[in-house]
Amino acid sequence: MTLLWIPLLSLLGSIISSTTGKLTRNQSTGLTLLMPVIALLMTISLAPAVFSGEVIRETISWIPLLGINIAFRLDGLALLFVFMILGIGILVIFYARYYLSSNDSMPKLYAYLMLFMTAMLGIVMSNNIIQLWFFWELTSISSFLLISYWWHKPDARKGAIMALTVTGGGGLALLAGLLLLGNIVGSYDLDVILASKEIIQGHAWYEITLILVLLGAFTKSAQFPFHFWLPHAMAAPTPVSAYLHSATMVKAGIFLLARFYPALAGTDIWFILVSLTGLSTLLFGAYVALFKHDLKGLLAYSTISHLGLITLLFGLDTKLAAVAAIFHIINHAIFKASLFMATGIIDHETGTRDMRKLNGMWRFMPYTATLAMVAAAAMAGVPLLNGFLSKEMFFAETLHQQLLGSMSWLIPVLATIAGALAVAYSARFIHDVFFNGDPIDLPKQPSEPPRYMRVPIEILVALCLVVGIFPNFIVDDVLKAASFAVLGGYVPEFEVALWHGFNLPLLMSAIAVIGGLLLYTQRRYLFQFQASLPSLNAKKTFDESIYRITKWCQRKISDSENGSLQRYLMLMFVFVLLFAGWPLFEMNQLGGQKQLTPIDVHNAMGAALLMVGTISTVIWYRARVVSLLMLSVVGLMVSVVFTRFSAPDLALTQLTVEVVTIILLMLALFFLPQHSPKESSSVRVVRDIAISAGLGIVVASICYALITRPLESISAFFLANAKTGGGGTNVVNVILVDFRGFDTLGEICVLGIAALGIYKLLVNLPLVIPASDSEGRPWAKERYPILLASISQSLLPLALMVSFYIFLRGHNLPGGGFIAGLVTAVAFILQYIAHGSSWIVARLTINYRKIIASGIAIALFTGVGSWFFGRPFMTTWFEYFDIPFIGEIELASALVFDVGVYITVVGATLMILASLGQLANEPKEEVNT
């Protein structure tokens, strides 16, 4: 379980450090350091095994179905990175203790740093590529948090978002690439993938997979043209930059190249893509670095350039190039971390990082200056320092490749130029900051930093020297082990040594150093030339493109979501037309086998009336009352049609529903303008007519097709079982209360909820009651005609009797709870019309919502009742009783259910009516009449 503990300890450290807010700074730092130090010791204990060629593995099952497991693996490459991540991480934490001001939250920084460390450890130790991606994205998140540490600064916010966008986008490409890779191999296991080079490279998806994986690697390692986020990431506190630029984040991209080198490298497309990207990044970064006035800016571009160098090495088609790449990873991490820390000290002590102000620091901080100069010399590739060795190897390898065919000589030439540029910007770093006259307008009086702030730099600079002078002594094992992992088992013979004799690489180094110094001394001309070029500001470009994309999106959205209901409906109807119309054309014959009945006069008349009603509704739709009346013609004709075709229940329902609806709509129309203005253009009218005609044709054709075909349906069952199983001869009613009583239960809920909703909408609605009709005529003085009032009052008991009768006969003859409820409602509505709602409210003090609720409750409990007989919900029961004098009567549970329906219908209808009616009864109006 040792392996798992390495990232786990650092995660634990993150949690621990976030809770150290109350402790002193030293305690907080000490506690935070504890976990990574333990992890480092554990790693050291594992090292000998790895050096001997062993690969340590550990797996815990997580989501086996997806092939995602928690799987860790420690080979030479992982070991190297774990050393760097933990080692430099520990130094950075220690350094940050002295860097942060007392206003900054230390636990927060430590927690994020440790989280970041965890993510990095996870990447390098993953044995499952989905898990690798998991940690990969975690580095994006934690670097977002780190870069935005000073979130009140716009630079920090923007830098963080830029980094997240670029690396997050790359992360998505990487995920796609890894999934393809997993699919090619049939496993997400890294072990399997690394052993499947032939399968992968022979697969049709190889190219696209490679490109996607490289996109991930290049965005993370800030390769040109994705480099622009890295300089803006320096808005983070300097310890964070030191970590991000040396051992982590950008190195994750490089790690990816190294990790998949055995599986993906070796093809032409790999060499071309990787080497050319690396080469252009190398040159571009080195060139731009020279012109940066900000110390961190210079270092950032130098990082880009060095990452380009490493990438280029991975792209060269020689085995030794990969070894050189790994060696340079180590060296770069060491000198870059120390340089950033030195910059942090200078910034900390002077208050600025601008090289035009910072001059002559040698006098104020000679000790720090010495350290920084050694590190900068390592960056330039000066002999006796580690940077020199890997640069030598790099030059040597550029000479051995055959990448560009006959033009391969270009690569060493360009490499030497890049080397010269590196010398030049390193020289600028040293000379501008520590010499070159006196400081100008420094915010603070500079001095040496606290003693311990320098310790991490001292350690790193010492490493630069030791590696540079005795390379075999310290890095040989780890370099060999890592190369063994990257090259997949075969490591070419190589010797890292200070002195290889006078050869071509040495000459290239000499040219680079002399050329670089020359460049630096003559920089005035170069700066002038650079100033004459149009300046490229990545942040501005990025912001502008995001802005432009956002604007474009907003335009698109406001174009489509324009808030026009007509448009939304039109789209829906067009869809219906398309979906329903298309299959009609595929049919061979519309009509079925059934004979058509001959048209008689009654049917023809009815149909004609129906059509007239429909068309009139549309034609007079702007005169709303007329339109409504025409609509009622349609409704009444439909109920006539039901009667004509022997559906008395439907006819009764339709009739009562029609009456109630039209009255309620009349009431609603009272508050609306009587006429609606003409709004549609002629073109639009034509379009709408076309759509509606199309819909009419389609629906009519479908109806015709359906009714001319014989239908075999489940209705035969209902006819056969209504009496025997449901206890009623009215099949429609038995369907409603028994076979499909559950639907009815749902529908009465709908009715009840609708009443609640209407009440809710209207209860506090301030509506202006029109003083006159649309022609300006005042309303009739006599609001409630006496004749109507007296007749309606006497009609009420009669109507209630009728509804009671309809209710009772429902199970066997046309009728039932629904219709009876509507009839009762109509009777009450008549009272409302005759007397006004205030008159009713005074006399009928009932709470409609309680009525609705009890109606639904009765229906529901009737259904639940069957549970007590061990039957499912709503199993009905009926029995015939012979009662003396009255004769045989039937008692059925369905009748109780129907009572619930009845009560709900009455309650809901009256509640809607009362809600609309109370609007018309504003107190002011009452006083006037």
Binding site: S61, I63, L65, L66, I68, F134, L138, I141, F144, R157, A160, L175, A176, L180, N183, I546, T550, I557, E561, L565, Y568, L569, L571, M572, F575, P583, E586, M587, Q589, I702, A705, L706, I707, L711, S713, I714, G725, F739, R740, F742, D743, G746, E747, V750, I753, A754, L756, Y759, K760, L761, R849, K850, A853, S854, I856, L860, V864, R871, P872, F873
Partner: protein, 505 residues
């Protein structure tokens, strides 16, 4: 009681709705709140119990009125429907709890309406009868209309009106579609319909196709598929956030119906109509994802942003439905649960953030700092990571799974790039929104408005939702097994037919 377990997720919300309208529970504010929360917990507990029973004994078929299929209405509690019922009732608990901090009193009948809405959604998930599905669509729609107007103003009522009218037309189309399907197939039970569809001959095939395609219009409207999604952004953004959070499940009802209808009825065994909607689903889904991503980048306030995230999630789900393989359906099931909980959490967060930023509310622009940056910021970070689909939370598993499941699908070459670009758009949109809202402040903070601190009830509700993302990641192993099991059963044609139609015959 145990044999009626399948019915409880319908019975309990209906009972709750009724009881909350009557004395003694409905009489005053505090009674209503306590009763509503307790009743919603009952419904959730019953759903969980049903889930365990289905896990133990397999799918439960409950014949209402003791009339067996295809003549009566049956409820089918299979692993998929039961899971969604649990999700719905959980969301119900959360929203009722959250609203009890004060939102519930900004209009009438909030609590009964929420329970009625849950009734409708649960019914739609459980029913095995397509007309009954229509009825429950009506129940949930009418309840949702009323809830949309809760605490509403002019803007809100206008959006609600659009929603009502569009859905009424949708209901009419639903009825026409059902009429056609009954006219051709002569049955309403979904399993029976599936059996009959395979036997269709001649021109009847095309009539059934019309019915099936019209259902697609209805479900596309409900689920908010392009171009029938246009109602959603405004409706969700203007609804009271707690209502919008509850509505996170509503679009999923449309998606679920598609899963059922185009997997069971018009799925593998539909004769000439096999996979008839597949290519339509694909292209509509792709367009929806694209439009949602555009909307995410265009959004000027948090709630609009979240509404557009809902649209992207719908598009993603429908794309998975269109693949019509077991693995894709399993991914869809996992993603559905994840996206519902995460968008609901985001709606609640947007509300809490808005309340602490004075007049600027949830607009994505510089404004006063929130009063509780640590609490709200952490929750937002978690929800954002989940919704973007970054590790270590549920969104990442959903993303990996759905990409994996679509790897060999017909339109992968369009879907993958589009989906990944949409993910990038979400990444940019959400991170920009978060950093602006939490980090970009005016130079001087105006303290004229009192900032509402998070109420304990709101906090509990929020934490339940936010913790779902890490929990779904930690327990991804068992959850993925469940999803695969549910998807297997969804696709097992013969098993479904036999199970549903054999009972009691």
């Amino acid at each position: 009681m145990i044999q009626h377990l399948s019915f409880l997720p319908i019975l309990l919300p209906m009972l709750a709705g009724v009881l909350l309208l009557m004395p003694p529970l409905g009489t005053n504010k505090s009674n209503r709140r306590v009763a509503s929360v307790v009743l919603s917990i009952f419904a959730f507990a019953a759903s969980l119990a049903l889930l365990l029973k289905v896990q133990a004994d397999g799918t439960q078929v409950y014949a209402i009125g003791d009339w067996s299929a295809p003549f009566g209405i049956v409820l089918v509690a299979d692993p998929l429907s039961t899971l969604l019922v649990c999700l719905t009732t959980l969301l119900g608990v959360v929203c009722v709890l959250y609203a009890s901090a004060g939102d519930d009193e900004k209009g009438d009948f909030f609590h009964p309406l929420v329970h009625f809405l849950i009734l409708g959604v649960n019914g739609a998930f459980l029913t095995g009868d397509v007309f009954n599905l229509f009825v429950f669509f009506e129940v949930l729609l009418i309840a949702s209309y009323s809830l949309l107007m809760h605490g509403g103003d002019k803007k809100n009522t206008r959006a609600a009106l659009h929603y009502v009218i569009l859905n009424l037309v949708g209901s009419a189309i639903f009825l026409i579609a059902l009429g056609i399907l009954y006219g051709v197939l002569g049955t309403l039970n979904m399993a029976d319909m599936a059996q009959k569809v395979a036997l269709l001959q001649g021109d009847d095939v095309f009539l059934a196709k019309i019915g099936g395609m019209l259902l697609l219009v209805v479900f596309a409207l409900k689920g908010a598929l392009l171009p029938l999604h246009l109602w959603l952004p405004n409706t969700y953004a203007t609804a009271m956030p707690v209502v919008a959070a509850l509505f996170a499940i509503m679009t999923k009802v449309g998606v679920y119906s598609m899963m059922r209808v185009y997997t069971l009825i018009f799925g593998d065994e539909a004769g000439e109509l096999t996979h008839m909607a597949q290519s339509w689903l694909w292209w509509l889904a792709l367009a929806t994802i694209a439009m949602g991503a555009v909307g995410v980048l265009a959004s000027k306030d948090l709630r609009k942003l979240i509404a557009n995230l809902v649209i992207v999630s719908v598009g993603t789900l429908v794309a998975l439905v269109a693949v019509q393989t077991v693995e894709a359906s399993a991914a869809a099931i996992y993603y559905l649960v994840h996206s519902t909980l995460v968008t609901a959490a985001l709606f609640l967060l947007a509300d809490l953030i808005g309340r602490q930023r004075g007049d600027i509310a949830d607009k994505i622009s510089a404004g006063p700092a929130v009063a509780q940056p640590r609490l709200l910021g952490t929750c937002f970070l978690i929800a954002a990571i989940a919704v973007i689909g970054m590790p270590p939370l549920s969104g990442f598993i959903g993303k990996v799974w759905l990409l994996k499941a679509t790897l060999n699908a017909e339109y992968t070459f369009v879907f993958w790039p589009l989906y990944l670009l949409a993910s990038l758009a979400i990444l940019v949109g959400v991170s920009k929104a978060g950093s602006t809202v939490f980090w970009h402040h005016h130079a001087k903070v105006t303290e004229e408005k009192t900032q509402e601190l998070v109420h304990p009830a709101q906090l509990v509700a929020l934490i339940i939702l936010v913790s779902a993302a890490p929990l779904m990641s930690v327990f991804a192993g068992p959850l993925s097994e469940y999803a695969i099991g549910a998807a297997n059963q969804l696709h097992d044609f013969n098993h479904n037919i036999n199970l549903i139609l054999s009972r009691g015959q």
